[in-house]
Amino acid sequence: MAHDTNHGDSGPDIAFGRLDPADYADNFADAKPPLDRPQALVEASRCHFCYDAPCVEACPTGIDIPAFIAKIASENLKGSALEILNANILGGMCARVCPTEILCEQACVRTAQENKPVKIGLLQRHATDWLFDAAIQPFSRAPASGKTVAVVGAGPAGLSCAHRLATLGHDVVVYEAREKNGGLNEYGIAAYKVPDDFAQRELDFILAVGGIEIRNGQQLGRDITLTKLRDRYDAVFLGVGLAAVRSLANEGAELAGVHPAVDYIATLRQSPDLATLPVGRNVVVIGGGNTAIDIAVQSKRLGAETVSLVYRRGPDHMSATGHEQEFAQINGVTIIHWAQPASLAGAPNGAAGNAAHVRSISFERTALGADGRLAGTGEQFTLAADMVFTAIGQVFLPDPLHADSASPIELQDGAIVVDDDRRTSLPDVFAGGDCVPGIDLTVQAVEDGKRAAIAIDRRLRGTA
C-alpha cells in the first residue's frame, strides 16, 4: 500500500511504500548473482588462456586475466584473488561495477569468435568473494619508511593510493569530507550492484593492512588546505572527485521535486529502509550516462509507475553502454532519444503552501543540423512528472584547492593536469580519479591511485 506524503488534490503523487515489503528486498538484491563453484569452473574452462591477451590490455588496471582465470580452474582461489588484487585492490568492486562489455569482455577473443565472451567480471567476483569470505588478509607492509602521505578523498582513487602506499611501508592519513568512506562506491553506485554492504566490507579489507588513518568530516578548503597538507606531509594525493553537479537552466528548474540524481542515489544508498523512501508515480530522468540509468532503474524498482529517461542525442552517443541501456529497458524504463528539456511546469504543493512542485516537463525534439551541431526542431512534447532527476554531468570544483595557495595547481578543461605518474604541476602533489582527465570509471580511479602511489614511493625513496 502506498503512503502519500501529501494530501493535496492537485499535488504531485509522491509516496513511499508503493511495494509489498518483500519486493524491496527482491528489487534491490544482487542484480547479477554470483557464479557458484561448478558454474565458475565451467566458465573458467572457456578461457583460451591467450598469450599477450587482449583482455589484459583492455583492463585499465592491467589485471592478468588469463592467469587469474587459470587459477580459478585449478581451484587455486587464493592465488587467483591475489592475481587480481595485486593489480587492482578494489577488484571486488570492479567485478561488480565495471562496464566489462566495453573493457575486458569486449576484447575477449571469444567475442570475436562467437560473440560470447568469457564472463570475466563474474569470474573476478568469484575469486575475490572467495578471499573475502575466507577472511584472509594476504597483504603485509614493507618495513616502515618513516614517511607519511596525505590522501584527500576516501573514494576509489584515494583508497587505492592509500593501500599501495601502506604496503610499501609509508603511513597514510586520509581526509574525507563525508561521514562514511568509499566515495561513490558507498554513495553513488546503484544499490542492486553492491548489496550486502559490500563497499564497507571491501573498505574494511583495505584498511586491515594497517598504516592508514582516516579522518572524516575533513573537507578540503574548509577544514584543511592543500598548502597545510604540503607543509605537514611528505606528499599529497588528491582524489577529490567531482564536487558539483550541472543543473538545468530551463524555466521551472527551481521547482520542488527536481533533484540531482546523485543526491537521490546517495539518499537511497544510505536509507536503512527503502520502504520509507518516497518516489514519484511519474518520474522523468534527464541524462545519458550511467547515473541516469541508475536513478531510472532504481526509481522503477522503488515502485514508480512510469520512468522516462530522456536524452538529447541518440543511443550511440549515450555514455551509458548498450548493455546498461538494455538493462534499463528490461526494467521498464522508457528511453526517449533526441529531445532536450524546454520548460518545467509546477503546481502549488498541497495544503502547506510550500514552493510550487513540478508536475510536468516539456521537451523539444532535437536533430543534428547540417553543420553537425545539435539543434532543437521546435516540436515539443510534455511528460507528466512528479519527480525530475537530472543526471547531466558532474563538474570539478577547483576552489577548495586554492583556498590559501600561493602556487596554484595547473588545471585544464575543468580537471587537474597530471602526467603518466599522476603527478600534478606541483612536484609533491599527485591526483587521480574523476578529478583528472580520462574515463570516469572506478577501475580507472584505482589505476590512478596505484600509479600515483608507486611514483610517490619512488620520490620518497629518492629513486626518482
Partner: protein
C-alpha cells in the same frame, strides 16, 4: 538406409552396438530396458561360482576435464553379486523374449577345468548366444587368481579357451586385459585356444584421484582406496591401438574383434570398426547418460554410412587397418607447413606461444597498426601440427602440403639413414 546388422564369432545382432559386461547388464530389468532402447546386444555381467561375491562401497572414481564430467571413469566393483541361479533364470527369459538380440554371457571361474565345464553347461541351458571369458577384470578378482591374473599369462588364456571350446558349442569370446606390454601375446593365445572372437579392452589399472584431505586414493572405502579399472573416453586411444594391432597381425588370422574402450557415440564406433572391430561394446557412456544414447549411435552411424555409400558394416570394417603402419613405413619426404587463415584468426596468440616456447619459433607475433598479427615463417615450420591443435578456432590453422617433387621414401631407404641400403652401397 544402411544395413547395420552384424555377425561376429557366430553371434548375430541387428546392430553393432552392444552393452559391455558391467553394471548396466547385471539383471533382467536393465537388459530389457536396454533392448527396448534399441541396443543390438549385451554381454551379461560376469557370472561366477556361488556363493556370489560381496561388493564394497563406494565403487566408482571419475576424472573431470575442463568441465566434462566422467572424461575418465574407474571402478572397483567385482563380478555379479547375485546368485548364479537368479542370473541364469533371467538370461533364459530375456533370450526367449528378445530372440533377435545378441545375448552373450560373461564368465569368470577359477582356473580349473571342472568349474568351467560346469558353468558352461548351465549357461548353455539358457540358450544364450555365446560366452565371453572375463580375463580382464584388473581389480579384486585378479587377487583371487582370476580376471586379469589369467589374461596376463598367455598360456592360461590358451588353456582355458581350449577347455571352453571342448565343453560347449556356444561361440567363445575371449576378453583381453590391456594391462600387458603387448596385446599380441594374449591375442595369439586366444587364437591358439580356438576362440571365436576377442573382446578388448577391459579396464586399465588406475588410481583416478587422491583425496588430499584424507590422503587416500578415491573411490575411498572407509579411508582406504584400491586400484581400479579405468575406462571411459580417456582410454579410447589405448583401446584403438590394441584393436588395430590385432586386426593387422597375420598370426591373429582375422579373428573377429568386439571393440571396447571409451566408445561414446557413433563416430567412436565407426573408428573402431574402421580399425577392424566387428561390433562395439559400450559401458561408461550408458552409465553417464542412460540407454537412450543408442538412438543417436544407430541413426548417426547409418546416416554417415549412407553419406559414404557404405551399405553394410563389412563395407568399411578394417578400411583404416591397411593404413595403420609402423613408423618405418612412413614417407620421410612428405612435407607440410601450417597456414593461418587471417580472417578467421581471433588473436589469442596460442599458436605463437606454443611454437615459440616449445617448438620451432615458426610463428611470428607482430603488431599491425596496433592489431595483433600472427604469421607462419614457412622456412622454420616443420609441419608438426602443434599450432593446429592448440588453435581454438576450427579450420583457422590448416596444414598445407608442400609440392617438393620428392618421391615416397621410407627411412630405411633414406640416404640420411646411416643404416640405409643406399648408404651401404
Amino acid at each position: 538406409m544402411a544395413d547395420l546388422r552384424c555377425k561376429i564369432g557366430g553371434v548375430s545382432a541387428p546392430n553393432p552396438f552392444w552393452l559391455a559386461s558391467a553394471p548396466p547388464t547385471d539383471k533382467e530389468y536393465n537388459v530389457v530396458r536396454a533392448f527396448k532402447a534399441g541396443w543390438g546386444g549385451v554381454v551379461w555381467k560376469t557370472l561366477g561360482e556361488d556363493p556370489p561375491v560381496v561388493n564394497v562401497t563406494s565403487r566408482y572414481g571419475a576424472i573431470r576435464h575442463q568441465g566434462q564430467r566422467m572424461a575418465g571413469f574407474n571402478n572397483i566393483e567385482l563380478i555379479t553379486d547375485r546368485p548364479l541361479e537368479v542370473n541364469l533364470r533371467e538370461i533364459k527369459q530375456v533370450k526367449r523374449d528378445w530372440p533377435d538380440r545378441a545375448l552373450v554371457v560373461s564368465l569368470m571361474v577359477p582356473c580349473q577345468e571342472e568349474p568351467w565345464r560346469k558353468i558352461l553347461a548351465a549357461v548353455e541351458d539358457t540358450n544364450a548366444d555365446g560366452v565371453e571369458l572375463n580375463f580382464g577384470c584388473p581389480h579384486g578378482m585378479s587377487e583371487r587368481g582370476m580376471g586379469s591374473a589369467v589374461g596376463q599369462v598367455p598360456e592360461y588364456i590358451e588353456m582355458v579357451t581350449r577347455w571352453c571350446k571342448q565343453h560347449t558349442n556356444m561361440p567363445v569370446f575371449v576378453k583381453l586385459t590391456p594391462n600387458v606390454t603387448s596385446i599380441l601375446g594374449p591375442a595369439h593365445a586366444a587364437v591358439a585356444g580356438g576362440g571365436d572372437a576377442v573382446s578388448l579392452i577391459n579396464t586399465i589399472n588406475s588410481i583416478t584421484n587422491v583425496n588430499l584431505d584424507a590422503m587416500a586414493p578415491e573411490p575411498m572405502v572407509n579411508g582406504k582406496g584400491a586400484h581400479g579399472g579405468y575406462c571411459g573416453p580417456a582410454v579410447k586411444p589405448i583401446a584403438m591401438h590394441m584393436v588395430a594391432e590385432i586386426a593387422r597381425d597375420p598370426e591373429c588370422r582375422d579373428i573377429p574383434i568386439s571393440g571396447i574402450g571409451g566408445i561414446s557415440n557413433w563416430r567412436d564406433a565407426a573408428e573402431f570398426i574402421a580399425l577392424g572391430a566387428g561390433s562395439v561394446q559400450v559401458c561408461t557412456a550408458a552409465m553417464h547418460y542412460g540407454f537412450r544414447i543408442v538412438d543417436d549411435m544407430i541413426e548417426g552411424l547409418s546416416n554417415w554410412m549412407d553419406s559414404k555409400g557404405y551399405r553394410t558394416i563389412a563395407d568399411f570394417r578394417g578400411a583404416a587397418t591397411r593404413n595403420y603402419v609402423d613408423w618405418g613405413a612412413l614417407d620421410i619426404n612428405y612435407e607440410l607447413v601450417a597456414k593461418i587463415d587471417q580472417a578467421a584468426c581471433i588473436k589469442c596468440g596460442l599458436c605463437h606461444i606454443a611454437c615459440e616456447d616449445t617448438s620451432h619459433q615458426a610463428i611470428a607475433a607482430t603488431r599491425d597498426n596496433g592489431d595483433r598479427h600472427y604469421e607462419v615463417i614457412d622456412a622454420e615450420c616443420v609441419g608438426c601440427n602443434l599450432c593446429m591443435h592448440v588453435c581454438p578456432v576450427e579450420d583457422c590453422i590448416t596444414m598445407e602440403p608442400v609440392d617438393n617433387n620428392k618421391p615416397y621414401v621410407v627411412w630405411g631407404d633414406d640416404p640420411r639413414n646411416p643404416a640405409s641400403v643406399q648408404d651401404r652401397q
